[in-house]
Symmetry: C2
Subunit: 418 residues, 2 copies
């Protein structure tokens, strides 16, 4: 599929993240106005509340864009999603009759502040990238026992904290926590010294479900994808995570990119999961290409310095698709709701510079990275800005995600010393 041309001419460049082929959904405000839903097109945002008020988007009896989040539309399901996308393409394509009526509803992206596009109902984080699981397992348990016995049979995941999910651009405060090194006699209360990122994709559930659903149904229920950085306090995690999994190590913040890229925009980039050395049980088997070919990278910018790319990988490195993760999530009868966010797990490639966390890039701190400034990094320092980028490369166009970025600000002075 080639580039679709828009009368918003900034959208018509091969490397612009928001061509007519994309049309990702977000929530924005401009100075002195309230947050509302919008769709990105080139350097502009189409204000959907304004478009609806102007009669340009009419999807039912009730206004659809009164709320400053996408959950209600996500809940409506695929037929409405398709109708909305088709209408937006018709309004924004080159030669659209409605151009003169639509133009007043456009807002320059440069004037907009972006907000959380969705109320995250619950957040689940998986551990479904094989290179990442192997790297972490090798560091902690040795190469022979790197993958846990269940890993090739189920997408391992844990419930995270929805209240801690923030939109790109939100500063992240280095947490305090209870820490105990292997040689310490007792734990102590201190700021995290091994603060890290995890490069992930997030899948957003649209259509709710009650009982077990198939992988195909799961794929149908997914509304779209975002970039996701699962900030991780490795030293807190090491002390707390046995036997019930990560808890406070993952609860400081999880950042997501501000634009939800729809499944429809990603359709041309579908690809298969890797071949499997162990056959999955029937209910988890692949039933079509449900991963996506999306180039991913991480940059680290020290305070006042230049950003450097520290990792490049691709979403197709995952062992399990989001559809498989969502299907597994429902096997026990767990109800899923609009706004459920599923983190893919850290996406690492097979090579050293394809690793999606500093834990892996610096091999547990033993092999610090050297930045272009000459500084070295084992884990994140205060003032560092970490940015995830994602792009699917089409025939003369790009499907971009908008950066997922966050600056780590210093820990509070002891929050209990008062």
């Amino acid at each position: 599929m080639p580039l679709k041309k828009s009368w918003v001419t900034s959208a018509n460049s091969a490397d612009h993240p928001f061509p007519l082929n994309n049309l990702p959904y977000g929530v924005f405000s401009t100075a002195g106005t309230d947050p509302r839903c919008g769709v990105a097109i080139g350097d502009m945002i189409l204000d959907l509340q304004a478009a609806e008020a102007a009669g340009l988007v009419d999807l039912g009896d009730e206004p659809m864009f009164e709320m400053p989040f996408w959950n209600e539309i996500m809940e409506e399901g695929p037929a409405l999603w398709t109708a909305l996308r088709n209408r937006l393409i018709a309004l924004l394509q080159d030669g659209a009759e409605e151009q003169k009526t639509v133009e007043p509803c456009l807002v320059p992206m440069a004037d907009a502040e972006l907000h959380m596009p969705v109320i995250v109902s619950e957040y689940t984080d998986f551990y479904a990238g094989r290179h990442h699981a192997t790297n972490v397992g090798t560091m902690f348990r040795g190469a022979e026992n790197a993958l846990p016995p269940n890993w090739l049979h189920i997408p391992i995941g844990y419930n995270g904290r929805a209240s801690s999910v923030v939109v790109s651009g939100t500063d992240v405060r280095r947490p305090w926590g209870q820490l105990k090194g292997p040689n310490d006699a007792a734990p102590r209360w201190a700021p995290c010294a091994r603060f890290d990122i995890e490069l992930e994709m997030g899948a957003l559930v649209g259509t709710p479900s009650e009982g077990p659903i198939t992988v195909q149904e799961a794929d149908d229920n997914i509304f779209g994808y975002v970039l996701l950085n699962d900030w991780s306090a490795r030293d807190i995690q090491a002390w707390e995570y046995q036997p019930l999994g990560p808890f406070q190590a993952k609860a400081t913040a999880t950042s997501i990119s501000p634009w939800i890229v729809t499944k429809a925009a990603l359709e041309p980039f579908r690809c298969d999961t890797p071949s499997r050395e162990v056959e999955l049980l029937d209910h988890l088997k692949d039933c079509g290409p449900m991963l996506y070919d999306i180039d991913l990278e991480v940059t680290l910018r020290p305070e006042g310095g230049e950003g450097a790319t520290i990792a490049r990988t691709n979403y197709k490195e995952m062992y399990y698709s989001a559809a498989q993760q969502l299907a597994h999530h429902t096997t026990s009868g767990c109800p899923m709701t609009p706004g459920d966010l599923l983190g893919s797990g850290t996406i690492s490639g097979p090579e050293k510079d394809q690793r999606g966390s500093l834990l892996e890039l610096s091999w547990g701190g033993k092999e610090p990275l050297t930045l272009p400034t000459g500084e070295s990094r084992s884990f994140i320092e205060d003032g560092d800005t970490l940015t995830l980028k994602g792009a699917a490369k089409g025939d003369g166009y790009t499907i971009g995600f908008g950066d997922c970025t966050g600056t780590v600000v210093p820990a509070l002075s002891d929050p209990y010393a008062r």
Copy 2:
């Protein structure tokens, strides 16, 4: 503090669960009416929407009881909670001037259906009962390694699934899951064969918080308590839980009792946590009695049979209070919201008949229980009704919780065989 007398005379008996001293909050409906907030008094429910409409409860400029859940009141904080309770005591106490106006707002509890009293924003389950952790640890890792090294230093917990929390009386469908016994060559897809209960108390967060809070602040932020049954699929759990904790094993359902018992009602029953062999770090130290002396019991009733009490214990057996759990939950900066539900962890006493799960009562299935019917039980059978009961015994009165009950119905035929 003795029994407070009410003109609702059914409330004036020493063993009635809902005297004027209690006034627990719930949500109810009667035939043909919508769910709305109410307060239990004796055998009646005071309809708070009706009482507000009649001008009997006037807590601010806006109506407080338009929504069929308590979250908005919980968010308001302790000053409003106290004002509401004081007003309700004034309206319902013996000799109240308003009796004639209040009477039409009373609904017989026998005519009411009870609903979820709160929208559970997120659900966290702890593992903070020492006897339970020791029993389970002994079964899985041997007596020498029963308690994990971190257990005496932090209240271990994991995030659960808010969407799976249901009100007492809701049937619970036996889940399917991926199972693999220690001697099986490969996992298989089958109905859970080791379905279990966990006897817990649930603490409901009212006042929201953003950063780390102290144990005292945490106690202040708790709105009230419910009974909680964390239904657990032990065979699913055994296969899935390493390395990231329980996931689908705990996602079928968690039942709560329908009435939120407020901190104010429980105030006379405060008691200390047990003495500690290891000193806690300062920020988790006890700063007053924050457990409660609440008698708890579990009954099991086979289909068509008589119920039998299979365990009796007390909430004061916990090692960590809900306030300590909530304070720990915020250490990383994790935001807490109104409707956050914190499960205490399974509450077991030191004796064999004081254990709060079938896993412990039947010692992993090796010592099945014999019921009065002569049937034996290692884990739950289809048709069994499990009921948790709780009561704090005062001077001539009882603070009851209302039963937390659920009947286990047979698994679906294979949900993927279609």
